[in-house]
Amino acid sequence: MTTPRRLDQEFADQIERAGSPPESPPGTRIVLAVIGKDRPGIMAGVTAILAARRANILDVTQTILGGLFTMLMVVDTAGMEGSFADLKRELEVHGQQQALSILLQREEIFHAMHRL
């Protein structure tokens, strides 16, 4: 009987890293949800605001659910210019102007609820 072949060490290390928590401190990551009637430029508008403040996008999922543009983003705010409240205000104003629902919350709350 043959023993299973060990994974290549570099690949094994990569898997281990992928399974460990992200490197930015947990308090600095936020989840951003953008929901609204689909049209071109929604993502560009939101990401421009993030880029201007030097907030770093870590993960993004975007889809159309029943004609509704739905985007979820994980953003690292560690090097961001301005406070959480500033960003929230700016995005909310943008959301009102563009008829989008923009919600942002610290990512910690999602981890608390969905991870042991």
Partner: protein, 454 residues
């Protein structure tokens, strides 16, 4: 493991569609070091300490609410029972303390302040007797102050003299606030087996052994449980129902603990407990009654309700206890009739009666809560209702409470509105069979023999 979009959307819909919120963030403050022979100095010391500890509570809680996106419905303070730290006052006059605490609560933007309390389960001290005497005045002169009296415990039995008095005190509080349908009674709770870390009003106080300060949270998520049960569908067994509730309870407890810990950190106080509660609000869909009906009952209050509530209550505790090592307070499902739109409707229809509510309280948290009865209910009958409810707590080694409002001039079937979180509801019928002779005996109802556990 990174979060997937299904998990992100689940949390977002729990908050934005299903009313997941933190029902209360309650900061406990010990005031025993504020004792002073001069009632006005005692009041000033208490106010100074509350200001020192709680100055940043409301702005900080609002900050955390914005950052984490979970609404915090009420921000409250609980203090050492006033009958303890006020006992040194000469002359014994605790009204200045009551007024001062109410004023500082308003100044700091707090919704309620609990602790105008006395624990008299065996006997009352001089200060406790005085506090009971002035409860109607204290509530009439304040807006945010909450009063509670512990009249029994599994160890001590029931203090039937105190229970008889509470019947008269409740009647007087109702009469003093007749223009608001007896609303002062909504800030007065009578307990058996009161707990010292309860974050919920009107019964919160900060007891001995709790330390200098401590911040607790109570969660409210009947809407999230309801949505999960509706999604589960009618054909799954009750074990699946219990499992579903457990999972939701885990998530909401974790959310509650995180919010509580962050608020506590930022204002620099220790985190105390999460109350594994399922507190309804008058908002549509945020109802314990709806959950019972989603389990398959035609109407909450009908046959099967006690069993369904027992399942719900246990599943909430199982999920919650897995989620946090800091479970405390009252921990269980609440059934405040006026604060739960479906329970109020079923009571109006006659499907939910006072007697059934009493049975329900044997298997859930607390007791006869926010119940409106006719204004002419005799004080002895109010006392007998309290005694019945306290006896359930006494024999089951659990907390039970009565918050009952005899609405002046109102008859069964009429509806009264208190507004805000207190909601509104129907005036419920009370049996006309009298218990005056039983209440008049007074004395002590002995503890069950099972209380001798050592």
């Amino acid at each position: 493991m990174p979060l997937d979009s299904r998990e992100l959307l689940e949390t977002l819909s729990m908050v934005h569609a299903q009313h997941l919120d933190i029902r209360t963030v309650t900061l406990g403050v010990d005031l025993r070091d504020c004792a002073d022979p001069d009632p006005h100095v005692c009041a000033r010391k208490a106010v100074d300490k509350v200001r020192r500890v709680a100055a940043r509570l409301v702005p900080t809680a609002r900050e955390i609410e914005a950052e984490y996106g979970i609404p915090i419905v009420n921000i409250r303070l609980s203090v050492t029972p006033v009958s303890w730290f006020g006992a040194a006052c000469q002359p014994l006059d605790l009204l200045p303390v009551a007024r001062a605490l109410d004023q500082v609560a308003e100044e700091l933007g707090l919704d309620f302040l609990g602790g105008f309390s006395a624990l008299v389960e065996k006997e009352a001290t001089v200060a406790a007797r005085h506090l009971l005497d002035i409860i109607p005045d204290a509530l009439a002169e304040t807006h945010r102050l909450c009063a509670s009296v512990n009249v029994g415990s599994t160890r001590a039995g029931l203090n039937m003299d105190a229970i008889g008095r509470m019947g008269r005190i409740i009647a007087e509080c109702a009469a003093r606030s007749a223009d608001r349908h007896g609303a002062d009674c909504a800030r007065l709770v009578v307990f058996c087996n009161a707990v010292s870390d309860n974050p919920f009003m009107a019964g919160a106080f900060f007891g001995t052994g709790e330390g200098e300060t401590g911040l607790s949270v109570g969660i409210s998520a009947p809407g999230a449980v309801l949505a999960a049960l509706r999604h589960l569908g009618p054909d799954r067994t009750l074990l699946d129902v219990a499992e579903t509730i457990k999972r939701i309870a885990f998530k909401i407890t974790r959310a509650g603990e995180l919010i509580g810990r962050r608020v506590a950190e930022r204002i620099g106080v220790p985190f105390n407990i999460v109350d594994l509660s399922l507190a309804p609000t008058p908002a549509p869909g945020d109802s314990i009654g709806d959950i019972l009906e989603a389990m398959g009952l035609e109407k909450a209050g009908g046959p099967g309700s006690t069993a369904a509530l027992a399942l719900l209550n246990d599943a909430v505790k199982r999920g919650g206890a897995m989620a946090t090592g800091r479970a405390g307070g009252l921990s269980g499902a609440f059934i405040p009739v006026c604060e739960d739109a479906t329970l109020a409707r079923r009571a109006a229809e006659g499907a939910l009666t006072l007697e059934k509510l009493e049975a329900l309280t044997a298997v859930c948290s607390v007791g006869l809560d926010m119940i409106v009865v006719p204004g002419d209910t005799p004080p002895e009958t109010l006392a007998a209702i309290i005694a019945d409810e306290a006896a359930i707590g006494l024999c089951h080694n659990k907390t039970t409470a009565v918050r009952i409002i005899p609405a002046p001039g109102k008859r069964p079937g009429e509806r009264v509105e208190f507004g805000g979180l207190l909601g509104g509801g129907p005036v419920m019928a009370v049996s006309s069979v009298r218990a005056d002779g039983f209440i008049r005996r007074g004395g002590r109802l002995p503890p069950p023999v099972g209380a001798l556990r050592n």
